[in-house]
């Protein structure tokens, strides 16, 4: 059975690549700022959702800490820029490092214990970091909210028009897709799947489970924080309640789950399908009915996890047929 696994080129699937190219062209089809705004948000959240998917989907460790990573990235970037004039590009990177620090704390504390401890610690962490920053910003003279001055310029990660933001987030999305794809070509793929299948057997087969989890969690945290930093520069205003919001995190988690966890395409599909709906919904129904959106998310979560745990991707897989899928799946886990 020639499966063309022996060349890197042979492992690149045409449909995903074409879809990504199509998404890349999307910003140039239509130039209405609102359209580009929705596109920017879609790319950004597909990016963050993909980062979340790395630890929670591929790693099998359901993380609720990403609100903390997102917020830490946002504040690092914002404060370094506003108070110290450091270019947000560097701020994004440093924010990413901040995310890694938080991830390491959680990892060292909980990776050797049952999974339940990890999940709980991530929830507690998000709330804790939220509390910490709220406390801090209450002491500061500028108050709870932080406004970022609008000085357009590439080094300030600030632009007069919408298009540059869209392009940047698209590049982010490409980066996370590439990272996940590369990871799947390495032995880490084997380790992750072994851990997911049977962690005890994996460790007895010599897999350094602790190190693998730390690595994946750190990468996930880094890119989520970068996403947060970008969000801060995009919004030009952040405050603890909104940036550390668990509700915001749940949104991109739902995107990944509905789209299909442990797949590269899942988070993207989930975001592309759900995010524009959310935006239109919010604009249409308005503030009073905002809870309705989350109410629906709750129902979606329960239905998906009970009926179609693999999300939309599982639906696509079953259309393609099990056997053809297994051969593809064991290659690049798409």
């Amino acid at each position: 059975m020639a499966l063309h696994t022996d060349t890197i080129l042979g492992r690149i699937r045409p449909i995903p690549v074409l879809s990504l190219m199509l998404l890349g062209i999307a910003p140039f089809i239509y130039s209405h700022p609102f359209y580009l705004h929705v596109l920017t948000l879609t790319f950004l959240f597909a990016f963050v959702s993909g980062a979340w998917n790395l630890i929670s989907g591929y790693g099998g460790l359901f993380s609720l800490a990403h609100a903390a990573f997102f917020g830490v990235g946002a504040y690092t970037t914002a404060i370094l820029y506003v108070d110290h004039g450091i270019t947000p590009w560097l701020g994004l990177f440093l924010g990413g490092l901040g995310g890694i620090v938080v991830a390491l704390i959680i990892g060292f504390a909980t990776f050797r214990l049952r999974q339940f401890f990890f999940v709980l610690s991530t929830l507690a962490c998000s709330e804790a970091i939220h509390a910490l920053f709220t406390y801090w910003r209450l002491q500061v003279p500028t108050g709870l909210g932080t406004t970022i001055p609008r000085n357009p310029g590439f080094m300030n990660l600030t632009f007069g028009t919408e298009l540059p933001y869209t392009i940047i987030t698209y590049v982010f999305l490409l980066v996370i897709v590439l990272i996940v794809w590369i990871i799947n070509q390495t032995r880490i793929n084997y380790f992750l799947r072994a851990i997911k299948n049977d962690e005890d057997a994996a460790i007895c087969m010599g897999v350094d489970v602790f190190k693998v989890k730390l690595l994946i969690f750190s990468i996930s945290a880094f890119f989520t924080a970068v996403g947060g930093g970008f969000y801060a520069m995009y919004n030009l205003y952040i405050e603890p309640d909104s940036i550390f919001s668990v509700d915001l995190m749940i949104q991109y988690i739902v995107f990944a789950i509905v789209g299909g966890m442990a797949t590269i395409a899942g988070p993207i599909i989930g975001t592309v399908v759900l995010l524009p709906l959310t935006v239109f919904f919010r604009g249409w129904i308005g503030g009073l009915m905002a809870p309705l959106g989350f109410f629906v998310y709750g129902i979606l979560l329960v239905i998906v996890i009970l009926l179609v745990p693999g999300g939309i991707m599982q639906g696509i897989k079953s259309l393609m047929g099990e056997n053809r899928w297994m051969k593809k799946a064991s290659l690049c886990w798409m």
């Binding site: 084997y190 380790f191 299948n197 007895c204 087969m205």
Partner: protein
Amino acid sequence: MDEKGKPLLDVKDVVKTFGGLMAANHVSFQVMKGEIRGLIGPNASGKTTIINLISGMYSINDGAIFFSGNRIDRLRPDVIASIGIMRTFQISRVFRDMTVLENMMVPSLSQGQTMLKARRRAKELLEFVLLETLMHEPARMLSGGQIMLLQIVRGFMNEHLRLYLMDEPFAGVHQSIKGTILRAISTMNQENGVTFLIVSHEMTAIRNLCHQITVLHEGEVISQGTMEEVASDPLVIDSYLGG
């Protein structure tokens, strides 16, 4: 590292308790390099507990375990694997959603072997046990006996393998696969000098395979020796073989 005369595995006065239950009660025994040792005893005598203690899955409450003179009882299971101790599980644990070939590659990859060499060695070993036709099947598609065989031969992928702990390798396994397993153990022992510690209820296999046998009962070692010596030991007859 281990001179002649010094044991490869030295279990010294090991105690393990779970709540109020003493699963291992001052268990001591030694296994010499190149031996095939049988570990037998009635159910709940502590055999699996000993395997779990040596492989690092459980931590001991008292005593010590030495491998090649080095203390290993505080090491993590993956570190223990890297120094050459592999194990199988009584209820086979393979990676069910990975293919047979991928299952095989995990131990090699975790030791830093390249994908190419790992794949090659895996194919060789699979041919050796006649599983190579199922190479690309997901492990969950295999029969019970094949899964046990996969589990066993996966351990052989460890290129530093010196001690192999097997927990009931023949349980529920078809006769022909049993023969393959016996052949694999003999070959690895005679040609590669791998030492084995085998837990089993299958007396015929134990008799044919094992040089020495250690008998456990209620967490204690009650007898040790060759099959003949152990079979005629009144303590053993009372608790396990006869009465």
